[in-house]
Amino acid sequence: MEPDGQIKPSTLSVKDLPWQILWSKEKCLLCGRCTAVCPVKAIGLGVHRMRAIQVKLGLTEKPGNLFSVYHGIRQHTDAAHACVGCGMCSMVCPNGAISPIHNDEPDKLRFHINQGGAPRQRGGRRNKRLSLLDEIKFVRISMLTDPALDAGRHEFELRTLLGRILPPEEAIRVNREGGWSPPIREIYPLIIGSMSFGALSPTMWEGLQMGVAYLNEEMGMPVRFCTGEGGCPPRLLRSRFLKYIILQIASGYFGWDEIIHALPEMKEDPCAIEIKYGQGAKPGDGGLLMWYKVNRLIAAIRGVPTGVNLPSPPTHQTKYSIEEAVAKMIQSMSMAWAFRVPVYPKISATSTSLAVLNNLTRNPYASAMAMDGEDGGTGAAYNISLDHMGHPIASIVRDAYLNLVKIGKQNEIPIFAGGGVGKNGNLAANAAALIMLGASGIQVGKYIMQATAGCLGSETDRCIICNIGLCPKGITSQDPRLYRRLDPEKVAERLVDTVLSFDTELKKIVAPLGRSTSLPIGMSDAIGIADRNAAERLGIRYVV
């Protein structure tokens, strides 16, 4: 606003914003790179008038005014152009003259980003930094008690099973008598996704897929990628790389007719089918791909016309109960590949998760259960859903696993956990913690975006404008001017680096436990926490 203008209730000053631009007149070259790169036009050139009062010593002459004009970088204060703290200005500044800094007190913008009665929406992650998973320690270190392994020296088979494992007597019977046995995939315990083509830019998506193919074919690591809801490019469906892909089906069913059309031409079966019922970032809420993002490419892959809104409702329309949801969908999806492909549902972690799990245990075609906790990421959600809805992943994984133990099926139906794994950078530690709580593997998205493409998002409200298509790194944008900033090859390379280092770190955790031939799934005696309540709730050691 003009400093002398009229104020309105929502008139804000720089001090009221979450991010403040610190700019140095002395260092600034006025090169224009910061204003050219700013994704939200939070800054622009400012014209400033300066005044110097000239007074002759001794007051021998009448004092005078000297006005001058200088140009500098000015931060805008209207909500639509509030700085998001991405820091791209710092990145492009040749002189280190500009950088966003976080307000030292809670901002006032939060009270005003509901103009027109529309609550705030954003992408990214929860604005909560705490992670219970980070607090879990691995306390059972084998040294002299039983042979400790050396992560560097010993060969590890860090693999997990995705699929329904028959109890031994049943397996023997099937083996003897013949007949159908459920499909099982031996995969790497880290699954990437689910992130759709559309939520991610073409370069990001291709980079990740290329990296996954590389990990499989060059490094011998069976890492899998879940597509998210948005279909799958026709070429990928018809390639051998399909076996590295978990195809997701969700309430919008986007791209599924294209997948069906590709069935006769598939060289390989997909790894699995994930039926999405919910996600951790916005449990119980649907999504909407805005019409302006539905360009020719997205439209072709999703099998829709261009320029239309694409809603994914909160629920699948033809499901009326858990029984139905589970039985009907799993059966249909299994049938598409003649029961050769594992099919499992993914739900938001919820206090009702166990009901779903119990149901799955009674369904012979259910291959697994995936749960996404409150810390899950998203391309777009209401602030309220992101920050305040959902169930923490740790306790629900534990409950689910112990429930399986109670009915003796803990080795029969794997649990996959996601939502905030690695939210503070501790990917392997969080993964290992979840595995020891009972997960057979983890699903990870945000960490991958940060590590492979330099996503700037944070739990302190930095950037997270995934929802408006202006991702400054080109990760979640459909605009070539942004997504061409991202080189798919470099993304692929970073994915390989990331998974390799994750692999080493995970080995560094499980080797001292003496595990090398199987993952320590549910090995809860190996973990502890310095919080008595958490220890009690999770059934793990209380260690101080």
Partner: protein
């Protein structure tokens, strides 16, 4: 052993095993006692033969019979030679610091573990983890481990120095002579081996062949080894074929820096694109180039592009002038030194530039001057208006012969007549009064406009425009006869019929319009106390005049907050008028105005100023009338296409509005007469936020001359050609391009422009606009 022992130390006494601690003590004592040829009959004792430093420079020979325990020769000294007549248990030569240890049988796990100097000669096979964690201290020769047979699994783990020779004797063709996964973590040293080996840690070790030096060393040292273990008969077999031997050496750390991975680009081309097709994942769906671009991009890859929108928007002064005078353009002419042109320009828009712009107009141009948003004084249009008194007459278009009758010689009638005249038509004014000018000459107080100014401009009009003074109100017959004789009739009869509120005693009140008409001729009379009902601008004029004519007090009442403003209000207030509202009149008595509130305002004279309406009694019923005014379309055309109407006969308004209506109507009449169709689109007004006022001196006092006005004009939306954008553009992408005559434009070199928006944010006049670049699919 070369000679007979000088002492024999038994490992058991009376059938009881000697504790390792005691055996060690006895061996140490034997050495201390000078024995240098010692035979030990071992029975599982630990660490036999190590730490014999007491032997000093004279070597000590140990012959071990029986079954030694683990770590034979552990921490062995260079002066020690140990000969084990049979196999050994784990960790033979553990942490060996120089002893030579000969084993005439197999060794179990851990042979040579952590040794740093000395030699271990094994005449058989070794178990797992042989030669692990060995070192080479540069102060000494490297340690050596010689194995006649094969090594077990995990051989040479973390080997950091020394030499191992694995002769592979007795191995089958598909045995691994170095066991499973040797060399994990190996960082130094060298392993000679003979025979088959499937797999080793390729991250750590490098497989190669023997060069001449290696071969020379191997063959010479082989002799010593075989001699020591008494198997010289094997020499020829083991040294027969150099090609049967290979070497594993540690990879140098600096060569390890990059992991052995396929280059991702080659994977992209040779694997990814080969399987998916050209263009990869979505090559079949789009032609969009997806190759990487720079973060700061130019041309088509810029996110934003600047546009030079010169004169694409009206400045607020012009946009708000009902007459449509291009005020800003006039200031520009003055800046360019064309002052006379700037003055002359006025007459193209109004016949009253001095009278109205200079005196009577509330100057909406100034009220909307952009400068005021930064508290700068508005550019003073009155100065330029007054300067227009001597404007030169525009040259009219060639005569068309079209006749237009204009009923009424007030501001709107004169304006339309003036405009039609300029367009070459022949207007005739019919005026019932004896002088032209309408309200200007009839009711506006003299104090508001100097006579000489008004007369000058009236004279200019009278000389140019034929007019007939009817001296009586127009009749219906007269109107019809005029209508038949001309091409177009324009009704500009004004609103001369005062509105009257039918209050009790209303006949006692005088209508403001009548009062002002009389007062202008100094023929009005007022009492001491005057009440004006209706506190609008006309009421204010009446109040000021009442004071001039001798009133002591004037009270203006209104039913709401008075709508009066500007000079009229100021004059009335300055004269001492009181304003009361909301007040509702109940009745007018002989000496007072009674209000519904019970209040009684003494009044010798009551003036009713509640508006006027047109007298349209001369019109036939064909012309549509709405609420007492003539109904017209946007072009001021009435329901009869040949009849136009402007001014107060259409709606009450300001002088400038009447004059502006005349201009617009004249243009549509001209179009009608010439059979031309034209839609009159006015440019939108510029957003004042685009204009930057920081370039102006905030302390400028009120304007006193047209030159400072011209200099201070922000030139909203019209380029001042200051060249700031050209200078400021960090990419040097903006250039001034001269066009024909004195015209110019500023252009952007797209290949240089990065879309920073500096031009748009800095432009003093708001010409540059930054827009989003066209979307790319």
């Amino acid at each position: 052993m070369s000679s007979k022992p000088t002492t024999i130390i038994p490992g058991s006494e009376k059938g009881v095993r000697v504790d390792s601690r005691l055996l060690e003590e006895r061996i140490q004592n034997a050495v201390k006692d000078g024995h240098r040829q010692i035979e030990i009959i071992a029975q599982g004792q630990h660490g036999i033969g190590g730490r014999l430093w007491r032997s000093g420079e004279k070597p000590v020979f140990l012959s071990i019979l029986g079954t030694p325990g683990q770590r034979v020769g552990g921490m062995g000294f260079p002066n020690t030679v140990i000969d084990v007549v049979g196999p050994v248990s784990d960790d033979v030569g553990w942490l060996n610091a120089g002893a030579k240890i000969i084993v005439r049988g197999h060794a179990t796990n851990g042979a040579g573990n952590a040794m740093a100097q000395g030699k271990i000669y094994i005449a058989g096979n070794i178990g797992a983890r042989g030669m692990t964690m060995t070192k080479h201290n540069p102060r000494f020769d490297p340690p050596e481990l010689w194995v006649l047979g094969t090594a077990g699994d995990s051989f040479a783990e973390f080997m950091a120095g020394g030499v191992a020779v694995i002769c592979g004797l007795g191995s089958k063709s598909d045995d691994n002579v170095l066991g499973y996964r040797p060399c994990v973590g190996m960082v130094g040293g060298k392993i000679f081996f003979r025979g088959h080996q499937q797999g080793y840690s390729e991250n750590n070790a490098h497989l190669t062949v023997l060069d001449d030096d290696d071969w020379r060393w191997l063959t010479s040292q082989m002799k010593l080894f075989l001699e020591a273990v008494g198997r010289m008969e094997l020499l020829s077999q083991l040294t027969a074929d150099r090609d049967a031997w290979r070497i594993l050496v540690a990879i140098k750390p600096y060569k390890k820096a990059s992991p052995l991975r396929r280059d991702i680009s080659s994977f992209h081309v040779d694997v990814w694109d080969r399987e998916l097709g050209k263009g990869g994942l979505i090559g079949d769906l789009t032609d969009q180039d997806r190759s990487p671009i720079r973060l700061i991009a130019t041309a088509a890859m810029r996110r934003f592009i600047p546009e030079w929108e010169n004169e694409k928007y009206l400045p607020p002064c012009q946009a708000h002038c009902p007459t449509g005078i291009p005020a800003q353009q006039r200031w520009k002419l003055i800046r360019q030194g064309h002052t006379q042109e700037a003055v002359d320009l006025a007459l193209r828009y109004t016949p009253f530039p001095a009278t109205v712009c200079g005196y009577l107009c509330p100057n909406l141009c100034m009220q909307n001057c952009t400068r005021q948003k930064a508290d700068l004084p508005a550019i003073d249009m009155k100065l330029l208006g007054r300067a227009s008194l001597n404007a030169a007459l525009p040259i009219p278009a060639l005569p068309t012969g079209h006749k237009i009758a204009i009923i009424g010689g007030g501001p709107s009638g004169l304006s339309i007549a003036w405009q039609l005249l300029m367009k070459g038509h022949a207007p005739v004014i019919y005026e019932m009064r004896t002088e032209l000018g309408g309200k200007i000459t009839e009711t506006i107080p003299r104090s508001r406009i100097p006579d000489d100014v008004l007369n000058h401009e009236l004279k200019r009009l009278e000389e140019q425009i034929p007019h007939k003074h009817l001296k009586h109100p127009l009749t219906e017959e007269e109107f019809r006869s005029i209508y038949e004789k001309v091409d177009v009739v324009v009704i500009a009869a004004g609103a001369r019929k005062p509105r009257v509120i039918p209050l009790p005693g209303h006949e006692r009140a005088v209508a403001a319009i009548d009062f002002l008409r009389e007062s202008r001729r100094d023929q009005a009379k007022v009492g001491k106390a005057v009440v004006v009902i209706g506190a609008g601008n006309v009421g204010c004029d009446a109040a000021a005049e009442a004071f001039r004519l001798g009133a002591d007090s004037v009270t203006l009442i209104d039913i709401q907050e008075p709508a009066s403003f500007g000079v009229e209000r100021k004059h009335a207030e300055a004269a001492g008028a009181k304003f009361l509202w909301p007040r509702f009149t109940k009745a007018i008595t002989k000496s007072a105005v009674e209000l519904t509130s019970g209040e009684v305002l003494p009044a010798d004279t009551v003036i009713m100023a509640v508006g006027d309406k047109p007298d349209l009694s001369f019109l036939s019923e064909e012309i549509r009338i709405e609420n007492g005014f003539i109904a017209v379309n946007d072009n001021f055309q009435s329901s009869d296409p040949r009849v136009f109407a402007v001014g107060d006969a259409v709606r009450l308004g300001l002088l400038t509005e009447a004059i502006g209506a005349g201009r617009v109507a004249a243009r549509s009449i001209d179009n009608l007469l010439r059979g031309r169709e034209e839609t009159i689109d006015q440019l939108p007004q510029i957003d004042p936020e685009r204009v930057h006022l920081e370039y102006h001196d905030p302390r400028t006092p009120a304007f006193t001359d047209t030159e400072t006005c011209a200099a201070g004009c922000a030139s909203c939306g019209a380029c001042r050609d200051c060249g700031l954008c050209e200078t400021l553009c960090p990419q040097n992408a903006i250039a001034r391009r001269p066009l024909e005559d004195e015209a110019y434009e500023y252009v952007v070199d797209a290949d240089r422009c990065i879309g920073c928006g500096f031009c748009a944010n800095a432009c003093p006049c708001g010409i540059w606009r930054l827009t989003e670049n066209d979307p790319l699919e």
